[in-house]
Symmetry: C2
Subunit: 321 residues, 2 copies
């Protein structure tokens, strides 16, 4: 893929990952419909393999490689790490995952469970990049960036492709935004399949770099972001930013309280487990409820990986751990 | 319905409740399949209205009434109370719900939210029956027992009807057993639609009255049951017992540890919220894993109503609150 992905690239990705990824269900909720006055359709990527949409992009990247034998490498302490490890195992190639030394043991174990080779490094950007580059040199593995990669963006777009196929008459689609891989892939799919629909990015107010970047017209980094939505801490990349700039109607921020309330509401009423990053999109839906009245709204529930021993409504004296 | 429900009665119930109840999805899980060696199909009644299968039976009973104007009455502090209140509201008739004085405020509020008229009574069997009988006399309302009612049994059977329609070649079906409404309805549907399949009742070892009753050949009451599966505290009724005796292959008990582990596993890996009573069926599946190897197993996940502030893995020093 030379330039930004097209709908065709997303369709190719869908065909490429069809044997491996789940076609996740679209759920509805009477409660959420009543609260918003809209007809809401939730694309359940929490049911995706490894528990998040990240598997789509990683899988597309891995199965796009013409010469894959030397494996793939990435730096990630989150869902992308597991996703790449599983995708590589499915293709029978090594996956090298660079993680910061302070990564949770449970996340390290999950990557190892999928057969990933972990290299720990100091928790700094410089150490992460140097370590990744070194592994690339030593192994010849191909870098698969968590979001700043057109193959990954095309893969993430397959969730919205499926959503638009199943619910063809949406008026708007909401996806959370961190690095922008999911949001840019979603925007490409929706713009091509349903140009009437507005695409919104949902972002924690405590990590509002995407909103600031869009306003400023250039990529602004995250500044000491502190949000429970730990999948959305990263800043936009130079591949995701122009797509979002061109195709996304707006970025809307939500508070930490709104995120936790939305997460709890979905658990209690929809009976599904979503992670805080996914709840960010639901929080936008609820915040704009009246504005969406009468409309048909798609919401991408990005993932469901949470630590059940550290739920936000457990903590005393505040929402954050 | 003069005698025990037939498959036709269950089909009639399905048609009667079709406008109101959800046709819940059947989910699969790679993790559970790998753990058991079986192909597992989970009928998600946690996604049912009011969050539990109970709505099916209550709805069938309410919409079976030829003269409904005087309303319905029941005693229940659990899901049946909410289910009957909602079903009555949908038909536009009053629902009188007798609850013990020590009922949780949240459960009382849920019934009131559906427009149910609550009468509190002392938390004894005598007070409950006396109060219910008095309301029947005063209002002329029809009693809809939580499980010892053929209309309710037929309604509960619609979950297995849908499951067998969607997955026609099951080798076994597992449902939890408390009063036996779900299990007996399930057994009737499966015996008629898929006679090759064995039906198992899953019961907490700490509330094993159904197992003891089956062994003894007569209904034995619960003796001071103490289980986290609070939907399964009741004893079999004279309408459910003979059906279970005739059509259920076996009752299998599971420990409290097994229930909590199964519940947590489903939350973590399937990303859905199930209540302890539903986890009892999953615990049986896991306990008998090897015995089910190679088979196609249906599991009825009966409900998803849990208090997120009181999760069993929160408590210190033990599983029970």
């Amino acid at each position: 893929m030379a330039g930004a992905p097209s709908l065709e690239d997303i369709r190719d990705a869908a065909a490429r990952i069809a044997l491996y990824a789940r076609r996740t269900p679209v759920l509805t909720s009477r409660t959420l419909d009543e609260m918003t006055g809209a007809a809401c359709f939730f694309k359940c990527e929490n049911f995706q393999r490894v528990g998040a949409f990240k598997f789509r992009g990683a899988c597309n990247a891995v199965f796009s490689l013409s010469e894959a034998g030397r494996g793939v490498v990435t730096h990630s302490s989150g869902n992308h790490a597991q996703a790449l490890a599983l995708a590589a195992r499915l293709r029978g190639i090594p996956a090298y995952i660079v993680m910061p030394r302070n990564v949770l043991a449970i996340k390290q174990a999950a990557v190892e469970g999928y057969g990933g080779h972990i290299t720990l490094c100091e928790p700094t950007l410089a150490a992460r990049e140097e370590t990744t580059a070194r592994i690339q040199r030593e192994t010849g593995a191909e870098l698969v960036h968590p979001y700043n990669d057109y193959r990954v963006i095309a893969g993430q777009g397959t969730a919205a492709l499926e959503l638009c196929e199943e619910i063809p008459d949406l008026d708007a689609v909401i996806a959370p935004v961190g690095g922008g891989g999911l949001l840019s892939g979603t925007a490409i799919a929706v713009a091509a399949l349903r140009p009437e629909a507005a695409v919104y990015g949902a972002e924690p107010a405590e990590a509002d770099d995407a909103l600031r970047s869009l306003r400023a017209g250039r990529i602004l980094p995250s500044e000491n972001p502190k949000t429970i939505a730990d999948g959305l801490l990263t800043s936009l990349g130079e591949k995701t930013f122009p797509i979002i700039q061109k195709l996304v109607r707006d970025i809307v921020t939500v508070s930490e309280d709104e995120i936790v309330s939305a997460m709890r509401l979905v658990w209690e009423r929809m009976k599904i487990v979503i992670e805080p990053s996914a709840a960010v999109a639901v929080a936008l839906l609820l915040q704009r409820g009246a504005g969406f009245s009468g409309a048909r709204i798609g919401v991408i529930l990005s993932g469901g990986n949470v630590d059940l021993d550290r739920l936000p409504w457990r903590a005393e004296g505040g929402l954050l751990k």
